[in-house]
């Protein structure tokens, strides 16, 4: 990422809290955010896996897309709002139940990923979708969504507010004291709640592989929510460094690294995000390519690698057993939970089998690497039994 001058950077409503807590502030997606606090990435990472980590993700792009003229029929209104966004993405939004949320991709005409995002159907606000996009892409994403909505729906950005992610095995018990009803949510469910008389949007989601919540709150209440969460001794603030190592262990792609406008959902091993109804209708951008890739015409595929020795970082070449370059690492680093170097990268499908022995080139030296299943560390999402 290009270095930005501090004065060019936006601040989240929690900026002063990060400074006070000794956060090391770095530019990220145009925002000044903490990469770590004094305890360091390793300790923060482990804390999140064992207790509850609190992340400021206010730089991301939460928003609401609402029908301008709802009929009052919740199902019809949902169908109408879903029909506005579905032409941009590959997910089945019409099929969402009230309160359900889905990971999906915004695609260009060639089936490449413009962004990955979350789209949720708000149960108590018929005809409204809750949409969260990535920080670095949000201006373009919002413009595309607003254009697709035309005069039928209004996009209300909420990215001036606070978005807090509480992640880890203790997150649910912490939430029980704060917004008890939110603990009834299952993984990938979203609802609006009242917290101390303030409306908040809570989803049971996150990007660490742990059970957890993301809470959207107005900017003037963000600090109060942050402070109240941190009163609990099980909660500590966690920076972007551990956020990245946690999501890497969880095998989750990061936009701008593992995903970009050339990468299709099938190449990125996100086939689950191309919903069945949409596949059958072949009515999403780049459907021809994506369906052909799904049928086997694939030139590269995202895989997970365990690397022996020094971590292979983004840009490192992936080599076959004979030393021929066959692909590239798109995210890589050290996995604190495993004590090993891990990486995500793209290789041709005939090299992508689990257990395949490859190499990675780190500073000009070939090191052994093996294709392993992802996630590297098992997900611990809270799935409600149906």
């Amino acid at each position: 990422m290009a270095e930005a001058k501090p004065e060019d950077l936006q601040q989240t409503p929690l900026f002063e809290r990060h400074q006070t807590a000794g956060g090391r502030i770095v530019p990220f997606g145009g925002y000044a955010l903490p990469v770590q606090y004094p305890t360091g990435i390793m300790a923060e990472h482990k804390w999140t896996r064992e207790q509850a980590g609190l992340f400021d993700v206010s730089h991301m792009g939460p928003s609401f897309l609402t029908l301008n003229a709802p009929t009052g029929d919740a199902e019809a209104d949902h169908a109408a709002i879903a029909a506005l966004i579905e032409p941009l993405i590959c997910g089945d939004i019409a099929g969402l139940k009230p309160g359900q949320m889905r990971y999906t991709l915004l695609l260009n005409a060639q089936g490449g990923a413009i962004d990955d995002l979350m789209v949720g159907r708000l149960a108590d606000s018929p005809g409204t979708l809750y949409i969260v996009v990535n920080a670095g892409t949000k201006e373009n994403d919002f413009a595309l969504i607003a254009k697709a909505a035309g005069d039928k729906a209004a996009l209300r950005r909420a990215d001036d507010g606070g978005l807090l992610a509480l992640q880890g095995p203790e997150a649910v018990d912490v939430m029980a004291a704060l917004i008890p009803d939110a603990t009834q949510l299952g993984f990938m469910q979203v609802r609006e709640f009242d917290w101390n008389g303030v409306p908040v949007t809570v989803s049971r989601s996150g990007y660490t592989g742990e059970d957890g919540f993301e809470v959207l709150v107005s900017s003037h209440m963000a600090v109060a929510l942050w402070d109240e969460l941190l009163v609990d001794p099980r909660v500590k603030p966690i920076g972007l460094g551990a956020r990245d190592s946690l999501r890497l262990e969880a095998g989750l792609p990061l936009y701008g690294h593992d995903l970009d406008e050339t990468v299709s959902p099938i190449e990125a091993d996100l086939g689950f995000a191309v919903s069945k109804r949409r596949r059958e209708a072949a009515d999403f951008p780049g459907a021809q390519r994506i369906l052909a890739e799904r049928a086997g015409q694939l030139s590269r595929k995202r895989v997970g690698l365990i690397v022996e020795g020094a971590p292979a970082r983004e840009g490192a070449e992936i080599l076959d057993a004979t030393g021929t370059a066959i692909g590239v690492v798109t995210s890589g680093g050290f996995a604190p939970s495993l004590g090993k170097a891990i990486a995500l990268g793209f290789v041709p499908p005939d090299h992508a089998a689990i257990g395949n022995k490859l190499q990675v080139s780190v500073r000009g030296r070939a090191q052994p690497a093996e294709i392993v299943p992802t996630p590297f560390v098992p997900h611990r999402y809270f799935r409600k039994s149906a």
Binding site: G40, P311, F334
Partner: protein
């Protein structure tokens, strides 16, 4: 025995014609948790400023440069199994390599402790 410093946060502790090289406490604090150290080969001939070793934190790799010219005579093998020694004890147990100094005059171009302390204020 005297210790000298580079502006890149390496130290060299000089004992006669040999120097022990590592990174300063300030540097390890800046790097954070160190998870991997790549050491030079014994016998490697280095010129002042050459890349001699690499330390990797969770986030990134950082090169360690030779503070002076010379030949690597010994490396701290303990770091292979326990890279965190660089965090815990950078200026003693976390040393990286020993170098037979080929041009003692180069030591005069390095910072002394006061000069280095000023740099990291």
């Amino acid at each position: 025995m005297t210790t000298k410093f580079t502006p890149d946060h390496e130290y060299i502790r000089v004992d006669g014609s040999t120097g022990i090289v590592g990174i300063t406490n300030y540097a390890q604090e800046q790097l954070g948790d160190i998870v991997f150290v790549e050491l030079p080969k014994v016998g490697k001939v280095l010129k002042k400023g050459d890349e001699a070793a690499v330390v990797e934190s969770v986030k990134a790799a950082s090169e360690i440069y030779a503070p002076v010219s010379g030949t690597v005579t010994e490396v701290n093998e303990a770091l292979t199994g326990e890279p965190g020694l660089v965090n815990a004890d950078p200026e003693a147990g976390g040393w990286m390599f020993k170098i037979a100094i080929s041009d003692a005059g180069e030591l005069d171009t390095l910072l002394n402790a006061d000069g280095y302390a000023e740099l990291t204020l």
